[in-house]
């Protein structure tokens, strides 16, 4: 955005907060939702940018199911029946290329490890799905599978940074922060962007997460993903100190409002008004967040959709359900980061546990959204930061094998708002080693997500340190038209 425009916007916001704050005080902010001149959907505390969305998007919110560590495409979505005959045979040199991690580059042999899992066809679209995903197999007509996604990075840290910020060098805003910055959110009791870090199966090889995956980079700090934690303090410092009741806090905030109002009258600084409203929102969050995280309000039939594990606080399943509740309340973006998909050694065992931990809840989330009529307005994205190699890392048997990182092609799926269910795009070679048709860059996934929200990713830029920065980087990127509804 150009600096002049930014300045204008700042003024607009200031005047806006200044005005309304003075007349209405914190408690009456709700009535301002209908104020004209705001970005579509943005609330007073989570405003969006003027001029956004660029066009009417189908999706209003995004739920991003990030499978951290790099799930194997070969054992889930990229069905390669021919590989059974290639067991333990050398992956042909012409496929291999030269960019291999140093974990396996010295291995000497690159023997093919066919998936041990059975695949069968599902849905009207007849999609092949691995037996590891029996529940997701039941919703294949609702999702679009992107089969040849590629990324630039080959190790976890840069690849996670890439998939979430569009660049492998740290310092860029995360996707959720961009979306929060552009569109704000339709809630004034909750933040625009929420990040969840559920627990994961014991014994899986878990990689680290980085706060930059939900960090605001150079965008204003209010666009940072707020981590909702399991346990008593779902939002940091949400609870009053011991011995301080909600009534005490209310009295304090009443006094604070009066003192700050006097300060505003004295200095005229519009930021003072913003601060009054932020303290009021904090107070509302103290009530709205516990209400949000109280899953006991859900009907048994709903809980059943997500499976038994939904009852375990901090599980992926409960996070998925929480994601729906968040979106329902107007939160713009929810990002769930499920760890443990980095199966270098015992892949079949670990993948089994990983899928058991997530499969039903992923499908449950889609079904739940659909039942409530929310799926059309909610974009759901599933995928990791890269895929895994067809060749085995370590010891190879039919039953047990490991796979190294593979950035050249992996599978992701998208569903809901703006996406045509039952579609597929992209083909890979016989070894699932190189894309042969319709390859898609991770930044094209992100471009597509923005498109579903009504944002033209090329025009959604912010001038930072001399560059017009955007989520999807400097290289040309295309929206994946073939999977759009």
């Amino acid at each position: 955005m150009n600096p002049f425009f930014e300045n204008q916007l700042l003024q607009t916001r200031r005047q806006f907060f200044g005005d309304t704050g003075v007349r209405l005080g914190g408690a009456a902010l709700a009535s301002m939702l209908t104020m004209p001149g705001l970005a579509q959907g943005g609330s007073s505390v989570n405003p969006g940018m003027p001029g956004l969305p660029h066009f009417a998007g189908k999706a209003k919110a995004v739920i991003y199911l990030h499978m951290n560590g790099g799930p194997s495409q070969l054992d889930t979505w990229d069905y390669k029946p021919g590989l059974v005959d290639q067991f333990d045979k050398e992956l042909p040199k012409e496929f291999l290329g030269d960019r291999i991690t140093t974990m396996t580059s010295g291995q000497g042999r690159f023997p093919v490890a066919p998936s041990k899992f059975k695949f069968s066809q599902h849905g009207e679209c007849g999609r092949w799905v691995s037996e590891l995903l029996p529940h997701t197999a039941g919703i294949v007509d609702d999702i679009a599978v992107v089969k040849a996604v590629h990324t630039n990075a080959i190790n976890h840290d840069p690849a996670c940074t890439f998939v979430m910020t569009g660049s492998e060098v740290s310092g860029k805003p995360s996707m959720g922060s961009w979306i929060s910055y552009g569109l704000g959110a339709e809630t004034e009791d909750l933040p625009a962007f929420v990040a969840l870090t559920p627990n994961f199966p014991n014994g899986s090889n878990a990689q680290a997460l980085f706060s930059r995956m939900w960090g605001p980079g150079f965008l204003p700090g209010r666009n940072s993903g707020v981590v909702l934690r399991s346990g008593t303090d779902p939002v940091l410092y949400l609870e009053n100190p011991p011995g301080v009741s909600r009534t005490d806090r209310r009295s304090m905030l009443d006094a604070l409002g009066k003192l700050n109002q006097r300060g505003f009258e004295k200095f005229g600084d519009p930021d003072t008004q913003t601060r009054i409203s932020q303290y009021e929102m904090a107070f509302r969050m103290q009530a709205s967040v516990p209400d949000l995280t109280d899953l006991s309000q859900e009907k048994p039939a709903t809980l059943d959709l997500y499976g038994d594990r939904v009852k375990t606080p901090g599980s992926f399943a409960s996070s998925a359900l929480l994601a729906r509740r968040l979106v329902e309340r107007g939160v713009r973006m929810v990002q769930i980061m499920h760890r443990g998909w980095d199966s270098h050694g015992n892949l079949p065992g670990e993948m089994g546990n990983q899928c058991l931990d997530t499969d039903q809840a992923c499908a449950g989330l889609i079904k739940d959204l659909k039942l409530r009529g929310m799926l059309d307005e909610t974009l759901v994205i599933w995928g990791g930061e890269f895929g895994r190699t067809v060749y085995c890392q370590g010891k190879l048997t039919r039953e047990r094998y490991g796979r190294d990182h593979h950035p050249k092609n992996f599978c992701m799926w998208m569903a809901g708002g703006g996406i045509k269910g039952g579609t597929t795009i992209g083909e890979t070679d016989d070894f699932s080693y190189n894309p042969v048709k319709d390859k898609v860059h991770v930044n094209e996934i992100n471009a597509t997500a923005l498109h579903c929200l009504g944002i033209d990713h090329e025009r959604f830029t912010l001038r930072h340190q001399g560059l017009d920065e955007r989520l999807t980087g400097v290289e040309p990127m295309n929206v994946i038209k073939k999977i759009l509804a």
């Binding site: 600096p3 300045n7 003024q11 505390v45 991690t101 080959i154 840290d157 740290s170 933040p191 870090t197 878990a206 990689q207 680290a208 997460l209 980085f210 706060s211 930059r212 960090g215 605001p216 965008l219 204003p220 700090g221 209010r222 934690r229 346990g231 940091l236 410092y237 949400l238 009053n240 100190p241 011991p242 011995g243 009741s245 005490d248 806090r249 009295s251 304090m252 006094a255 604070l256 009066k258 003192l259 006097r262 300060g263 200095f267 005229g268 600084d269 519009p270 930021d271 913003t274 601060r275 009054i276 932020q278 303290y279 904090a282 190294d404 990182h405 090329e458 001038r463 340190q465 001399g466």
Partner: protein, 1021 residues
Amino acid sequence: MRIFLISFFAASCLGAQAAESLSFNRDIRPILSDKCFACHGMDEESREAKLRLDTPEGAFRKKRRGKSAIVPGKPDESESWLRIISDDEEEVMPPPDSHKTLMAEEKELIKRWIEEGAVYQKHWAFEAPVMPQIPEGSGSEIDRFVGAGLKKEGWQVTPEADRETLIRRVSFALTGLPPAIAEVDAFLADQVEGSYERMVDRYLASPRYGEEMARYWLDAARYGDTHGMHLDNERQMWAYRDWVIGAFNKNQPYDQFTIDQLAGDLIPNAKQDQVVATGFNRCNVTTGEGGSIAEEFVFRYAVDRASTTAQVWLGLTAQCAVCHDHKYDPISQKDFYALYAFFNSNADPAMDGNKLLTAPVMKVKPEGFELKMAEFDRRKGESQKKMKASKDWANYRDPAEQADKSTVVDSEAIWFEDEFPKGAQVGSSGHPLALVNDPVYSGAKSLKRGGEGMAQDYYNAGATPLSVPPRPRFFLHVYLDPKDTPEEIMIQFHTSEWSHRAIWGADVIEFGKKGTTERFVVGKLPETGKWVRLEVPGEKIGLKPGMPVSGFAFTVHGGTAYFDKFGVIGREDPASDPKASFLAWRKSQTGKPAKGIPAPLSQWLKEGPEKERSVDELVRLKDYYLEKVCMTLGGDVVPLRAEVAKIEEERKAYDSAAPSTFIFRDLAKPRQSYVMQRGEYNQPGEKVDPMTPGVLPPMKKMGARANRLDLAKWLVSAENPLTARVTVNRFWQQLFGAGLVKTSHDFGTQGDVPSHPELLDYLALRFQEQKWDVKGLMKELVMTRTFQQQSSATSPRWDADPGNRRLARGPRFRLDAEQLRDQALFVGGLLDLKMGGRGVMPYQPPNIWEPVAFGGSNTRFYKRGDGADLYRRSIYTFFKRTAPHPMFANFDTPAREQFCLKRERSNTPLQALQLMNDVQHFEAARSLGQRAMKAAAGRDERVDFIFRSVVSRGATDDEKTVVNDFFEKQVTSYRAAPEEAKKAILFGESKPDADLDAVELASWSLVANLILNMDEAIVRN
């Protein structure tokens, strides 16, 4: 071409006035840069139609059919203008698919500019600053520049702020802390001329000044206490952080500050401090992730270092030229890689190894270190000398060289015969303890042991510990009941724990780890129905000579056994005991001498006693032996030896207290650098050597190949048009909230033009004239009337200038994360002002690090500190980059993964929650409440005390009413539930004063909590 380049002299207002003539730099370049240069600018590769509009040569050149893009004075003949106003979608510029459009005013300006002759200027920041004429007016030079600008607008400066506001403003600006009440009182009482200046001088002289100044620099330097990628393990380079603090406190001139950090290692006879300073270029994030490709990261580090240097000193976004020529600024891709070449010979590895100290590192020795170490050595030498002079030393005879071998002594110690050792507290499982008369091996009784499953008699307390003799062999006598034969029998020994077991039989008792001395299977069960002697060597069960044994147990499984006469045989043979015989020791060390023996002694030992040695060598070996190894020397040697050991320990402790720290060094042989095509690490193109960007004045190099020292000196040379401007602008930003160039990180063509260009030049030149005196500059800035203005304004004035670029009012903005926390601790009387050292871990909610960290990371678990660690200044808080402390994350402190030259100032509900509820803040509020109760008796006085502590002024009557009402409510509510009051005041590790009434204190705590959350408390007003 020269005729078109006039020197930059822009009017000091922000936009062009209709009557004024246009300035290319102020009015036209921003438009062209934004809308045209991407395709018609510097970058050759993306240039369309071979047309460039960023130089007059390019724009005026006659192209096909004799047309020029711009014909000075004649818009109607200028092809570019005709294209701008074209209706034809194919023709119009900028093309619709670029998503760039020119607004009507912009078009008008371009037209006017062409009409006025299309005069180009070199980008202002690349021109050398020229000392401008100081405008007429009142106040300091700076004030007069500001005043001249305001006059044009018809505005005036705002009156001076009141003295309470001023002292708080200055105190925060220079030390990051509010003033103490006593400081406020002293300032108010000082009515003598020059009181403000004296107050400023006091804060400049405070050690807190360096801590405050360092914060901003550490953002620029991207300092952190972890590596920043993947495992994100701890790294040790806090000596660099402390160096920065010290440099500001010592007021090191900024030019030297620059040279030390970029090239301290290359300075001839560099002082230790200068090498510590090179940590600047080791602050970047590094990886240790398995599988990473080394070349990729070596590349990334050099890119990071070059980009950071360009941005911090030159205000240039050089990293834009990593993949292609800069689109807007005259920095080619080759320019970038020439800059990169300065940093591309780094000696530090691609993989940090996840280590605390990734080489190159240096030990940072405190002043007087060598003297102190020499003193240790002298004291040690003296004691050794005395030792050698003692009678016992001289009388040592090697038993191996004595003819008389009668010194060999076998000993037998009986540990059990008829009874357990005296005082032993014996416990039994299975049937009760049974000492029986039959069968008996010796003495009067034997011990009968049996029962269901595992059964035993044992003790591990009560008796004097038994000692294990040299070469121990344990023995015992057993009689297995033939009618109830056990599956297994066992003897267990207790030293510090039950960890020594000898087993005969089936090994079914699940004690100890198999295959270790905790569970050693000696052999099969002996024959039943008769007494059998069993033996086990001490070494098999981990019992070494001299070990105290505090208990033992007779254990059986699945049957009954009788135990009798249990003990140990030892053999003392001084001639073969390395602790008694010099020769035996030498034999024992042959081949692989013990660790820690210094060279060349270790080598001599390794070669064995067979090898011939000179007398001198033998004496040295023997001296070492007698001092460190031999256990048979008595008399004076014993205390002297203890003394030597003590001195050595002290020396070691002192030595290891001096921390090592990351430093920057080059490889012995420089790496060749290349232009990396498309910015890819594995696509080297043209070779490049270290060089500075061509658009700037040339660099002098000392040797054949330019190095970092040349670069650093060039940055701070008088000819460099950027460094001083960029630097003074950042200090200005620090004090006023925004720079004169608002884009303080970008002085290129895409950056903002300065709001007060002449003032900027004045400051830049004066800074250099004053020999880069940072304290001097800070003082000059805070001494201005501009800085001392009230920060209030009417609503229209806020709207007209929300960012206060015209400086018609004083600065007012939210305090930074560190300032907010430090303020709370300070007013609560909790702040610990200790300086320096390893990062500390104050309160942090659980599950900040744990849920994100890699399993093997050493920063996976947050280990909260205790005591003073909870209350140190925030600059000393341990900085984990992939999961920064929430205080930092909530209040816009950058994650320090990249340089940051300007923090955001957001205003969020999460901030409100933290300031109200964080234990750190609430405890500080209680502590402030407590201070108020002790300082004053009356309610109004207490309210005043809290106000004065936090915002340096007393409360108004109106405010007192509001606060008193709240206090009243709280007292009533806590009186009804005093246990709640107690809970509130016990929050935090420090304890409240027990003499104070809990209900009162809790209520005052909430009052303090209220006032610390006031807008006025959260901002620097």
